[in-house]
Assembly symmetry: C2
Homo-oligomer: 453 residues x 2
């Protein structure tokens, strides 16, 4: 490994992306190594001398890249009192990270209230999505609903219809589990070919959180569900769109929960505060936000969002309906479209894999457009219907390379190539594109969204 690392490559993000990479843009690339060696030599001597007095200074100095001069003064933050505790009773990211944002794809929808804001996957680590960067997809915008006035009603094929306050639900036996949520339209824009530049826009309708709530099965039992005749439920949101979705009863009684918690705290308003349905493995639209009603019925409901929308137009002209499950998928988040490799040398290829049907069993990475594959390292824990982070050691030789990842889930399902997917589904679909993503690294170091048959 140390040998592989001898020369660590550097990445420059697109301007709108991850700000911490500003530390690359400002340095003189050619002069860097010489300057660093010099800095190291001088400051190391100074620091070693200072260790005895408990005031090692060098590592925090400002080296003045590109020259030989080293300024051995301590930075202000090492010589002054900083902010007190609870300066921010609710903390925020560093000001240097302000550019890492949810971003819209202009013109994607007619109104911003029914638009999309994408998660900046290129700047994130691990599997937990910071709640402040969780993607948004609304049908009539979001409100900050007063939980004291919010109610959940359960009606239909139950012995005793009931209305619960948020407090009622929060005092029931709860469960906490980590799950991914992906919009069915994630990667939609690439059905017809590469159309957007970066992983934020190709795959950013994806997030992963720890959800806490009450199992829906417990509530249905509490209302005396008619188990003989109940075949489906309808979940209804309280937003202006009254968004509604049908869910088969087997799934509703399995791992679905009525959630109030996300990443340890209450749901964020734009993610359904105070209540949303969590339907592990299912597309995001089924995770009804601002949930106000569950109806138990004996037939699917064919609502707007499952008849004219969120259906897959197949090659024979028919619509595939009620396609609920997000199939196995993965994507490399770094290096990815819009970034630029500044050097030959070592890179940590990293990305995410997930499956709506269970755990990820393996992730392979190719750096030559799918001719050769090698297993990536998967970070633990590997959880069912949850993101799995993978990492892969790579040394870039400066030549054109095509980076791909391919996930396999515990059912044995292998993430398909785009042409394999098109052979079955045609190219008029909008939803459920889980094809292998290809990023081409040009000899210039630029990384571009491409499609490889």
């Amino acid at each position: 490994m140390t040998d592989l690392l001898k020369k660590i490559g550097r990445i420059q993000n697109a301007p709108e992306n991850y700000v911490c990479d500003a530390l690359i843009a400002e340095v003189n690339v050619d002069g860097m190594n010489a300057a660093r060696r010099s800095f190291l030599r001088k400051s190391f001597a100074a620091a070693t001398a200072a260790v005895g007095s408990g005031a090692a200074v060098a590592a925090a100095d400002h080296p003045g890249y590109g020259g030989e001069e080293i300024i051995l003064t301590l930075p202000k933050h090492s010589t002054s009192l900083g902010h007190p505790v609870a300066y921010a009773p609710y903390g925020m990211p560093s000001k240097y990270e302000a550019n890492l944002q949810r971003r819209e794809s202009p013109g994607l929808t007619k109104r911003r209230e029914s638009g999309v804001a994408f998660t900046p996957l290129q700047g994130l680590f691990g599997i937990i999505t910071p709640s402040g960067l969780h993607f948004e997809r609304h049908h009539a915008g979001w409100h900050d609903i007063d939980p004291a006035s919010h109610r959940l009603m359960i009606n239909g094929l139950v012995a005793e219809p009931k209305i619960y306050t948020v407090g009622d639900l929060m005092r029931l036996p709860s469960v906490s589990r980590m799950h991914f949520i992906e919009c069915g339209a994630n990667t939609a824009m690439d059905w017809g070919g590469p159309s957007v530049p970066s992983v934020q826009y190709t795959h950013g309708m994806l997030a992963c959180s720890e959800f806490t709530g009450v199992p829906l099965s417990l509530l249905l039992d509490d209302c005396g569900i008619d188990r003989k005749n109940a075949k489906f439920i309808l979940a209804e949101g309280s937003d202006g769109a009254s968004l509604t979705r049908t869910i088969p009863i087997e799934r509703a009684l399995d791992d679905v929960m009525v959630a109030w918690g996300m990443n340890g705290e209450m749901l964020r308003p734009e993610n359904g505060y105070p209540l949303r349905l969590v339907v592990p493995g299912a597309q995001g639209v089924s995770w009804v936000k601002w949930l106000r009603r569950i109806e138990v019925g004996d037939a699917p409901y064919a609502t707007r969002e499952e008849s004219t929308q969120y259906v897959d137009l197949m090659p024979d002209g028919l619509l595939r309906q009620y396609s609920l499950i997000q199939e196995c998928k993965s994507v490399i988040t770094t290096p990815s479209g819009g970034q630029r490799l500044l050097d030959k040398g070592f890179y940590n290829i990293t990305g995410l894999a997930w499956s709506g049907r269970g755990k990820i069993s393996r992730v392979d990475v190719s750096t030559d457009g799918g001719h050769n594959w090698q297993a990536a390292r998967m970070e633990s824990p590997v959880l069912s219907k949850c993101l799995t982070r993978f990492n892969f050691d790579w040394r870039w030789d400066g030549k054109t390379s095509i980076l791909q990842s391919r996930a396999i889930d515990e059912t044995g399902y292998v993430q398909p190539k785009i042409n394999e997917l098109r052979a079955v589904r045609g190219n008029r679909s909008v939803y459920h594109n889980n094809a292998i993503q290809s990023w081409r690294v040009e000899t210039s170091g630029e990384v571009i969204n491409v499609q490889i048959s």
Copy 2:
């Protein structure tokens, strides 16, 4: 279970606590059930009638508790467009949650720059701590350090001392893992008896996050560590306190990492941005924030924070030094001190368990002050050196009850009673109080911090 739930109890938090419980305070307790039944009957009929037209209304209505009148108008958020996507490019909690804050314990330290702000455990769910509510413990306050100018130096018993930029580190092979962090002084104030009212103050120097970074072992290898003579490392922060701690080399080469990521994004400034040491299982002070230097040596360094501070005064008058590991511990977070049970009936007892030595193997709960114990349900995943969330069904009969939890880790270590701990450690300690916590539920429903021998 459904039978157990027949009557769901209600909890009122202390005024400074969890705001969502405002939904309790405003209702007329006596009138509630009658009003709900009436509301249910009327609104269910209305909603059922409305279902066909796709405009079910009742569940989101404002019922007017205490009377029979039901107003069947839809709330504004169901009849209007809300905020557009990316209205907040970086999102925040609901305004109704503004009271859930990190809070100081006034007078605990002379200056707020060397103080503590506690995590509001009583209002959190699952195991992930929202980064905005991560506890704070500083020695000279916090700064928002420019990552472009920050450096990490590794020196001492290495073949080639090196200085790394943050970018250098971030492009190395990374790992992501979930771990708890607990200040060695957590629960310190209760060594001499119950002193603070709520779990936020008794146990709130505790958090759990997914950390991403590079294994320290890789960096030490990269610098050519002298494996024959290296026995300890010194980790040094770049804050005004130049905080320094010694760590044995076996641990430094095990699962310690130099981290930049926390819960998917860069560390928060008050938690060490841009670099902190992650020392799984160790007390928080060893997780050096704003990390600028690692020195490899052959003897412990006996720095200020491990000789005059963070030592345990034993009954024989000697100081226990270098007590690094946080032993197995647990606490019930709801119901907990400062809350009030408003009814007899069902309650979900919930809490957290953790061990610096590995996984939690079992959590027991007692509701009678330790005479009888029953196993709690542990939420998955159960990870090493990570929080584990537990839940326990309980029906309160209105009598005085003493709630306790007792964790057992995979080494077989059993969380001690306070008198067992005092028998070994005396009562002049400040740090490392991992005793069983007792909350007494009075007949009035008030929950009080008590100690049971």
